[in-house]
Amino acid sequence: MGRYIAKRLGMMLVLLIGMTFIVFGSLHLASGDPAQMVAGASATEEDIAAVRTSLGLDQPFWVQYGRYLKRLVTVDLGMSYTTRQPISQEIAIRLPFTINLACAAIILAIVIGIPLGVLTAIKRDTFVDNLLTTTSLVGISIPNFWLGTMLMLVFSVRLGWFPSGGMTEFFWTPLGLRQVILPALALSTASIASFMRIGRSAMLEVLQSDYIRTARAKGLGKASVIFIHALKNAMIPLLTQFGTSFGALLGGAIVTEQVFVINGVGTYLVNAINTRNYPVVQSTVLVIAALFILVNLAVDLTYCVVDPRIKYE
């Protein structure tokens, strides 16, 4: 198991480095002169040349990339073109809100999705199963920015039950809960649907296995067979889904934040893209993707603990 963990960590490192290369390389190719951006609109040719030399932008690509990696190791993400503040600080302020939103959404997805998945598995091929399975397709078919706007229209603008935007507190405080509920609901529909589908198929597989038949045969009640014996093993595929969904939710949060005017990394990224603030784009994409990799690593390591049957080749 120690070797498996070491291998997994090594793979993560390779992925992270590959990711930095893609992010750095793609923005290196982007149009627009970064030296010009830093120097400002009124800068002369000499100013721009001086900035270019001082930032090392006149160096070959590999040298620049090497320096970039070196700075990353010390968590130096560079300066924002527009605010002239260190990007790492600006991200540190915003990231908690994005994670807050993603966590609230994944809790919703688990709490709604898994019970529905279990229900459809038990009621396999009945009307309830067909109805819910088809309805889950609606979940993946609604653009979350539109659903967010509609929820805002109904519950904030018309009924006034929830604030129409902004996020100042985390979801476990009463105000934070009111602030997060609409964006989290808008964000989680696709994940609810995937938890439901994976939960359904995992349950179906487990329910057909021998030990469930044994449990039934020894006279256990249906409820205890399903919730104690079966659900425990069905959790394993759901764990994978947790990693995948968390990534999808982080990606989706970028958009949902825009709708609900939440000052998270998503809003930061979208503004940066629209103002061609490349260092910010680079760092934000990197941070979100790295977070996704870390969550998946955590999921993989949890496997070792939860499911000793897994072979680590």
Binding site: L27, A30, P143, G251, V255, V259, I273
Partner: protein, 303 residues
């Protein structure tokens, strides 16, 4: 379980599957909704007299036909028969913007799915068939998968600049890994089938085996994934346009219409309800079709 799927060998099987599909009521409804939608969008100039950019300053934020039953007398006054879905803040006809916008959305969805499919199938087939290429191709796909959600598409738009073509390109690149993974896992199964060995012993070249025999047998799964991907491509383009990274204004696109309409949420909610419903209905139809096609073409995938 897979024997049923692999028994589909000739193109006739696809049309047989299609006939089976039309026996399902829900799938038939979705299929016809999409056909009607495509006809409406293609025949937009015949349906509406206005161009999407035509402004009518005398009629701004007019309600659609439903305004006739409004309790607000000002709304009833503003209803115009030639703007059945109302107008936006510049007096542009919503029906025209919806239909012409649908042209863009559907076209971008189709082209990006097609391009993603092309490269995804090539990479997937090569990775599944040649063990030497498998690792390098799939590790690269894994790398693309580490950008969650729409992030990869956003990065590409950030690099190339916002335009209709660039967002199409971004969405298609983003679709490549999922196509490649699906096709690869199918090819890995097919490679071991007896008939592949049979054709090989007859002296068929790798090329012929791959692009003739193997390709035909991956077709069912390709059709299923492509149909569902059409749905997510549509969501992606409308999301990008909503964020100002897709189809540039003032050209209409469903997501862009929602972004503009959001400023008039209080006065005229129909400006966001209608284009949103258009996206949702279209995507649902593609997803239901994909789902039912999967049940028919590859039952092993269902549970």
């Amino acid at each position: 379980m897979t024997s049923q799927a692999t028994s589909i060998k000739h193109p006739g099987a696809v049309s047989a599957a299609f006939q089976k599909l039309l026996k399902n009521k829900l799938a038939t409804v979705c299929f016809f909704v999409l056909i009607v939608l495509i006809i409406l969008v293609a025949a937009a100039p015949l349906v509406t007299p206005y161009l999407p950019e035509d402004t009518d300053v005398t009629s701004r934020l007019a309600p659609g036909f439903w305004g006739k039953w409004s309790k607000n007398p000002a709304d009833v006054m503003k209803v115009k028969a030639d703007h059945p879905l109302g107008t936006d803040h510049l007096g542009r006809d919503m029906l025209s913007r919806l239909l012409y916008g649908g042209r863009t959305s559907l076209l971008v969805g189709l082209v990006s799915t097609g391009m993603g499919l092309f490269w995804g199938v090539i990479f997937g087939m090569l990775a599944g068939f040649y063990k030497r290429l498998d690792n390098i191709i799939m590790r690269f796909m894994d790398l693309l998968f580490t950008f969650p959600g729409i992030l990869l598409a956003m990065l590409i738009v950030a690099m190339l600049g916002a335009s209709t073509f660039n967002s199409t390109l971004a969405i298609s690149i983003w679709s490549i890994p999922s196509f490649a993974r699906m096709v690869r896992s199918r090819v890995l199964q097919i490679r071991e089938e007896d008939y592949v060995m049979a054709v090989r012993s007859l002296g068929a070249s790798d090329w012929r085996i791959l692009f003739h025999h193997v390709f035909h047998n991956t077709l069912p799964i390709i059709i299923v994934v492509a149909t569902m991907r059409m749905g997510s491509s549509l969501i992606s383009i409308s999301t990008l346009s909503y964020l100002g990274m897709g189809v540039p204004a003032p050209a209409p696109e469903w997501g862009g219409l929602i972004a503009t309409g959001k400023n008039y949420l209080w006065q005229r909610p129909s400006l966001i309800v209608i284009p949103g419903l258009a996206v949702v209905i279209t995507v649902i139809c593609f997803n239901i079709l994909g789902d039912k096609l999967r049940d028919i073409l590859d039952p092993s995938l269902k549970d």
